[in-house]
């Protein structure tokens, strides 16, 4: 992950603002106003904000330590003392879920960061240069897409060894094709526009055109894809942890909590129900928000 900041070339991102005429800034403003008006995306946004607040404030929000075991208080039903009950080792489920938020956000951001960086680079190069580079890159992407995502992630973790970091890397790599395809198709249309021709006409180099002019104008679909991917990434990582290939004990990762609690599915359903619900709401939040973003950024939907 240290590779993340180096490969992205952040200076290119301000691109749209540089040639920010009144028109382009109003595109983003329009989008924002549409986003806020949409109820579903607003709910999604609220969930995400709540999640971030909880993650930051975890020590304050949590009522107990997430790893403190009280073996004499195992499988307690939800009560005033333990809001969401206790698990198979007498740990407070509410506190574990609260701390688990941090892990989930971390997974979401890092895994999608990996997918985005690699995907944008590959997609941008494939779309911009075309010909055999395009062929090679996209066939590799096709091969990756031929695997069910969780299977590919499992295979990667099997090679790398089970740990949360490796699970994030695996989920990140699995998400690459999505970004690569979207960026490639957007680049294909953007590179035919007049301002790109103009840039080429004044003798700009390929690198400069790609990173300063083409990619910044592909930002909208990338943002949408990134938001939607966060949900999927969290879900996939939870799946890996469920299978024992992600977060290792005693980490309060939600998928691992599901897996540990399933022995008591019949006698103490709250042990699995609440981490399950937590995953549900987070994924729901990112998906609602992502959908809203897509609608807001789609110029064809402009009234």
């Amino acid at each position: 992950m240290p590779a993340l900041p180096q490969t992205t070339n952040p200076p290119e991102l301000p691109g749209p603002k540089n040639n920010a005429s009144a028109k382009s800034s109003s595109l983003w403003l329009d989008a924002l106003s549409r986003l806020v008006k949409s109820k579903t995306s607003f709910i999604g946004l609220c969930i995400i904000l709540l999640l971030i607040v909880i993650a930051i404030m975890a020590p304050i929000v949590a009522t107990h330590s997430p790893t403190d075991q009280q073996l004499l208080n195992r499988y307690l039903a939800p009560s005033a003392e333990h809001w969401l009950g206790t698990d198979e080792l007498g740990r407070d489920i509410f506190s574990r879920i609260v701390y688990g938020t941090r892990i989930s956000i971390q997974i979401g951001v890092i895994a999608v960061g990996i997918s985005a960086v690699i995907g944008i680079l590959l997609g941008g190069i494939a779309g911009y240069f075309g010909r055999w580079i395009d062929q090679v890159i996209m066939r590799i992407i096709d091969i990756m897409m031929a695997f069910p995502s969780i299977l590919l992630a499992i295979a990667l973790v099997a090679v790398l060894g089970p740990s949360l970091t490796n699970a994030m890397i695996a989920v990140g790599i699995v998400g690459v094709p999505q970004f690569a395809r979207i960026v490639r198709s957007t680049v294909l249309s953007v590179k035919e526009t007049e301002y790109i021709e103009a840039a080429r006409a004044i003798g700009a180099k390929n690198n400069r055109i790609l990173f300063q002019h083409v990619l910044p104008n592909c930002l909208a679909p990338i943002i949408v894809q990134a938001t939607l991917s966060v949900g999927t990434a969290i879900l996939d990582a939870a799946g890996l942890s469920f299978l024992g290939m992600g977060a290792q004990p005693p980490s309060p990762e939600w998928g691992a909590m599901l897996s540990d609690g399933r022995a008591a599915l019949q006698t103490a359903p709250w042990v699995v129900a609440f981490p399950g619900l937590a995953i549900f709401f987070v994924v729901l939040g990112f998906n609602l928000f992502g959908d809203g973003l897509r609608d807001a950024l789609d110029p064809r939907l402009k009234q």
Partner: protein
């Protein structure tokens, strides 16, 4: 697009529901396929000929079906049905009764044993059983260190593959004579152990390396099919010389998850299961279709510490500190009443148990003091190898590992849990890859030798086939155990074993965990299921009511 949002929501809901019930569904899904087939098969059969099939659900598959090459209970469960030993245990205890041998006598010095054999026995492949076949088997086991139990029980080593059995001769068609190099008190009881089941020489030669997949014995059931990690099917041996089986077919099914296995029992797709989750016992008891069968306790679960290293585990003080730092009483709550705290490496139900040994008790301060004394006040990192599959002596390995992880964190010992499937766990620990590791032992012959010598003698601390996975090497203990093997007087032997337990307690190569009364759950229609203390029982006595 709002509609799409709704659909997304619905899809997500589905996804989460699937995740929540995820794994058990996955497993149930694949298992059910086979389950349905077997159920159908047995239904059809019952309809036409009244065929009875027993489906036995368990947590892990057998490692091999050649009993002489394995030590794990899951393999023995199956081979106990396929093979006979010269003598067998009685149905409820570890006294012996005639089996392939009808009578036996021993010379006064205890060195020569003569067995009279049955003359009416045929192997499943149709060949006749004679004294030569017994000789063939014993000579085969003395050809390589791969025959692990032979080494454990008869003291065979790389240099002396025969161990204490100097000679095995056929002195007649149906008479076989053993000459030992030194007296061996548990000898007769050892011969009743399932690992010494007599295999058909023809089949062994025919299959060679693959024999472990094609077992041929004389037992009450004939091996039919093995689908790795799924099921093993046995059918009734119509020509069995002993009590003929009352059921026609036995299917051992591997269902790794305790909860999923219990659900299958409730739904009727399996008839008997072991490895019941402790918290499911009550539910099984209140279910009018189910019964709980409690196996008499003759086992021990433990956390071995790899003493054979320069690091912290090599230090006696550190191992004692670990014993002090774990609150055993609390840990035992994870057994939900099926386990009693262990302080010795052998169960209290055996003679020779030293009840005067006082357990370390729970004392964090003393533990810290000992760690500081050994120079590890700041703690250290260790691995704890744990099996993914539940074992009869350790029903919840994962949770137990996490509890120990947390308790040792109190004294600054950082535990990394390494979880492996049952057979890889065995391979890894026998190979000494661990710092600490969970394992347990169910007694095979009701003799203390079978616990102390197998699990803690330096003879069995060989990398690759270790029974002593603490790699504990104490010459004093070794001398006591060897002396006890050759001593024929039980009171004197008992005294020697008690001394050995004192020494072992002091050196603390283990953190002994528990002795359990492993519960099996079965459908009420299964009758006369006699759970044997050794952990597996032949199925020719039980029956299924229709």
């Amino acid at each position: 697009m709002n509609k799409k949002g709704l659909w997304t929501l619905f899809g997500l809901l589905l996804l989460v529901v699937l995740t929540v019930s995820g794994c058990s569904n996955d497993q149930a899904g694949t298992e059910e396929d086979t389950g349905d087939e077997t159920a159908e098969a047995s239904d059809d059969a019952e309809g036409s000929e009244g065929e009875k099939t027993l489906v036995f659900g368990r947590g892990a598959d057998s490692v091999q079906l050649d009993p002489s090459q394995i030590t794990d209970g899951e393999s023995i469960y199956v081979t106990n049905q396929v093979y006979d030993t010269l003598v067998r245990y009685k149905e409820e205890n570890t006294e012996v009764r005639p089996s392939l041998a009808t009578e036996w006598e021993t010379s006064e010095d205890g060195l020569v044993w003569t067995f009279q054999l049955r003359d009416d026995v045929t192997f499943h492949d149709g060949t006749d059983f004679t004294a030569e076949d017994v000789v063939f088997n014993f000579e085969r086991w003395a050809t390589s260190a791969d025959f692990i139990y032979y080494g454990y029980m008869f003291g065979a080593t790389e240099d002396n593959l025969k161990g204490i059995i100097e000679k095995v001769e056929a002195t007649g068609d149906y008479e076989v004579k053993f000459t030992l190099s030194e007296p061996n008190a548990p000898f007769l009881f050892t011969l009743a152990m399932p690992p010494f089941g007599i295999a058909s020489p023809e089949a062994v030669e025919e299959h060679g390396e693959d024999y472990f997949k094609n077992p041929v014995g004389t037992g009450p059931f004939v091996f039919e099919e093995w689908v790795k990690d799924d099921n093993i099917t046995l059918v009734k041996n119509d020509d069995y010389f002993g009590e003929p089986a009352k059921i026609d077919k036995v299917i051992f099914r591997t269902i790794p998850d305790n909860g999923a296995r219990f659900m299958e029992l409730q739904s009727g797709s399996i008839d008997v299961m072991n490895g019941l989750n402790p918290q499911d016992i009550q539910q099984a008891e209140s279910d009018e279709n189910l019964q709980i069968i409690r196996r008499p306790s003759m086992n021990v679960s433990y956390m071995a510490m790899n003493t054979d290293q320069d690091g912290p585990m090599g230090e006696k003080e550190v191992r004692q500190a670990i014993n002090l730092a774990i609150d055993k009483e609390k840990l035992l709550t994870l057994f939900e009443g099926v386990g009693k705290a262990a302080k010795n490496p052998m169960p209290p139900s055996l003679w020779g148990y030293n009840d005067d040994v006082e357990d370390y008790g729970f004392d964090v301060e003393e533990a810290k003091r000992l760690l500081a004394e050994a120079g590890y006040a700041d703690g250290f990192k260790v691995t704890l190898y744990s099996m993914a599959n539940p074992r009869p002596y350790l029903p919840q390995p994962k949770v137990t590992a996490q509890a120990i992880q947390e308790m040792l964190a109190e004294v600054n010992i950082e535990v990394e849990i390494v979880e492996n499937d049952w057979d890889s766990h065995l391979a890894a620990t026998e190979n000494g890859e661990h710092d600490m590791a969970f394992l347990g032992w169910t007694g095979d012959n009701g003799d203390p030798d079978n616990f102390l010598y197998v699990l803690l003698d330096k003879d069995n601390a060989k990398l690759g086939s270790a029974g002593n996975i603490a790699f504990y090497k104490n010459d004093e203990v070794h001398d006591l155990l060897k002396q006890a093997q050759t001593e024929m007087d039980q009171d004197k032997r008992s005294e020697l074993y008690m001394q050995a337990q004192e020494l072992i307690h002091e050196d603390a190569p283990w953190f002994p965990i528990a002795h359990t009364t492993p519960p099996l759950a079965a459908n009420k229609d299964v009758v006369d299921y006699l759970p044997h203390p050794t952990g597996s029982e032949p199925f020719n006595f039980l029956d299924i009511n229709n």
